[in-house]
């Protein structure tokens, strides 16, 4: 394209550094429409025929689907009502439309998805300009047909990402869990997204997969087109679009150096996470995708400290996963973790995500109907999950964690339901293991302050730092205007955690901590200095955190943290740690950048 000559080189954009590592490669734009995400890809002349074949197959399959629906509708509602589907069917057969779609693929050399999108966009636009209100409405019929085609295309005739000749950096508005499931991770060098904060799904997924990521870039999708060379630095949050050669070389060198360092660090996964003065820590894994269980041994994780069950739900919406489907996933977790066990967090979703009747998008979803509040409202869904967990518990040591608990009544009500489900299963002779510890996620400040009360009625406490920090400091990390105020080392956070440690000890209940904080070596050491003994974190970060633990003296770190808690601000804590940790543990922290 002629315009590419004039497009700026070395265009820098800064977002949030969401997952460490450096990616240097070419961009692959991921677009979205309704419930679909798809690629814009320039295909080779040879592939044009493949794309046209995919389009024709999709048209055929979409027609078959509509024929079926039409027959059903005619049977149930009468013949007249099936006419609207007739219009949809005719659109799929419309020679002009089909011709335009094929022409789009041929002339622009794009994949079928993109052709469907751009051609139907043009048609919709034409309809929206018609004066007739009724006809303007027909634009929605075209969108419906377009969505059906995209669904079919994203199904079994999916564009094959492995057909690409190069590894790519995915550029998207956001990355959806269902899309991630389709990616060939070996070909993905990084994620760059417009939306999202550190705890957004794309960030969590990227960290889980060990793929470098920058999120919250606002309009990176508008500035990059597929095929543009780009650099992504998951440590500084910087993205460089169309870099000049010298810059590219510099980053490639840095990337290779980092890769060598990482490999060096990962060699000692078999050794325990023990401090120099002999205190053993437990490092468990945060898991989102069931396939991650295969990497637990590789990274030396001792069981799963947090399985975010909502990912299973998100992948399936608007349908919900059945008991059997959930059972198979939980059983896999139970079998993979054995005696170390796995903690399953009850689905932590908002009602709007479940697309349930009567639950709409809320203005302030962080403070709204979600997590345990929702689970207690949609008790049937909660019960299905519990049954699946109790059955899978036959194969290992599962635990259940209740998210967003803020009052004791929620814990009591959840325990009553769990008891009831067990009773039902026993009565119905459904095989299960009723020995299921129930824990409370401490993430609402109110629950932290009443930790002693909760400790008496729960089997264990689990500090969820992502939300606890958000609620304690009243900061939404996804909001770039206040993201800098999200400070894990804020003395208020440190004091709260120290209080939780003391309280759990006094009440004789086990305490663990999960959250992104634990994946940062400096923060992890701070947590250990506060008395936390069990951390659950992204599996890929376990070797690094373990090395940090093995380099410190617990006594020294404890006294360092008791000083830190007396400080006035996160900045002061940070400078104290940046000064003292390299002195105390030079073999690890001298080489570690102060910013972590």
């Amino acid at each position: 394209m002629a315009s590419s000559k004039t497009r700026a080189r070395d265009l820098k954009m800064t977002g949030l550094a969401a997952s460490p590592g450096i990616g240097v490669g070419r961009a692959l734009r991921l677009d979205e429409r309704g419930r679909h995400q798809f690629y814009y890809i320039e295909v080779s002349a040879a592939q044009v025929r493949t794309e046209i074949r995919r389009l024709r197959e999709a048209l055929g399959e979409a027609r078959e689907q509509l024929e079926e629906i039409k027959v059903r509708l005619a049977r149930e509602l009468g013949y007249e009502h099936s006419y609207i589907l007739d219009a949809h069917l005719l659109m799929l057969e419309d020679k002009n439309l089909v011709g335009e779609l094929e022409q789009e693929i041929r002339a622009r050399r794009v994949n079928a998805e993109w052709a469907v999108r751009s051609v139907t966009d043009r048609v919709v636009k034409a309809y929206k300009q018609v004066k007739d209100a009724y006809l303007r409405e027909r634009a929605s019929d075209i969108e419906d047909v377009s969505a059906r085609l995209l669904t079919v295309l994203s199904g079994h005739t999916k564009f094959d990402l492995s057909a690409m000749e190069q590894d790519v950096i995915i550029v998207a508005e956001d990355i959806w869990p269902s899309t991630v499931a389709e990616l060939d991770f070996n070909r993905v060098l990084g994620f760059a997204t417009n939306a999202g904060g550190m705890t957004s799904h794309s960030a969590i997924i990227a960290r889980a997969l060990g793929i470098p990521a920058c999120v919250g870039l606002h309009d990176v999708t508008r500035r990059v087109k597929t095929g543009d060379p780009m650099i992504l630095d998951g440590e500084s949050g910087e993205v460089i679009i169309r870099p000049t050669k010298p810059l590219m070389r510099a980053f490639l060198e840095r990337r290779d150096l980092k890769a060598r360092q990482r490999r060096g660090r990962q060699t000692d996964t078999a050794r325990p996470a023990e401090t120099l003065d002999g205190t053993r820590m437990t490092l468990r894994a945060n898991v989102e995708l069931p396939t991650e269980v295969e990497s637990l041994a590789l990274f030396g994780a001792e069981g799963i400290g947090l399985y975010r069950s909502e990912f299973m739900f998100l992948n399936r919406l608007p349908e919900l996963p059945s008991e059997e489907e959930q059972y198979l996933v939980y059983r896999r977790l139970a079998e993979a973790t054995g005696s170390a066990g796995a903690s399953i967090r009850v689905f932590d979703l908002g009602g709007d995500k479940l697309s349930l009747e009567g639950f709409e998008q809320e203005q302030n979803s962080a403070l709204g109907l979600r997590a345990i509040r929702l689970a207690l409202k949609v008790e049937d869904i909660f019960r299905t999950q519990l049954r699946a967990i109790l059955r899978a518990n036959m194969e290992g040591n599962l635990r259940v964690v209740l998210p967003l608990i803020s009052t004791i009544n929620e814990l009591r009500e959840a325990k009553r339901i769990i008891q009831d489900v067990k009773g039902e299963m026993a009565e119905g002779s459904v095989e299960h293991n009723a020995l299921l510890p129930v824990g409370v996620m401490i993430e609402v400040p109110a629950a932290a302050m009443l930790a002693d009360i909760f400790a008496r009625e729960a089997d264990f406490l689990s500090i969820g730092t992502n939300d606890l920090i958000q609620y304690l400091l009243a900061v939404d990390r996804a909001n770039e205007h206040v993201a800098h105020l999200y400070q894990p080392l804020h003395p208020a956070v440190l004091r709260t955690i120290a209080y939780l440690v003391r309280t759990a000890q006094a009440e004789g209940v086990s305490l663990e901590l999960c959250g992104e904080m634990a994946a940062n070596p400096i923060h992890a050491i701070a947590l250990i200095g506060l008395g936390v003994r069990t951390l659950s974190l992204t599996p890929a970060s376990i070797p690094l955190v373990k090395n940090a633990i093995r380099s410190i003296d617990l006594g020294q770190v404890r006294s360092l943290m008791s000083d830190a808690m007396k400080l006035a601000s996160a900045d002061e804590v940070e400078s104290l740690l940046a000064r003292e940790l390299p002195r105390q543990a030079p073999q690890f922290f001298a080489a570690w950048p102060a910013q972590g």
Binding site: E80, Y83, A87, L90, M91, D94, K95, L135
Partner: protein
Amino acid sequence: MQERKVTISNRLGLHARAAAQLVRRASQFTSTVELLRQDTRQTADGKSILSVLLLAASRGTTVFIRTDGPDEERAANALVELVEGKFGEETSDGLF
């Protein structure tokens, strides 16, 4: 070529249901089918639903049906019959 002049007289005009019927009927013939709005001189391919819909021919619009090909006469007659029979609309509630 055959050309017939018709006035759209069914209540909802050439909306999705009527347009679908017209396109289905037109597609049964080998001849090409072109619709021409008398007032706007806008034309549409009678075998393309998207094209026919865009004509936005509401009740009272005068349209020329032009057919061209081996079965042009039968095609023209069949389409005129459909339009004048108001697409069988009286028997439905005209929801679509």
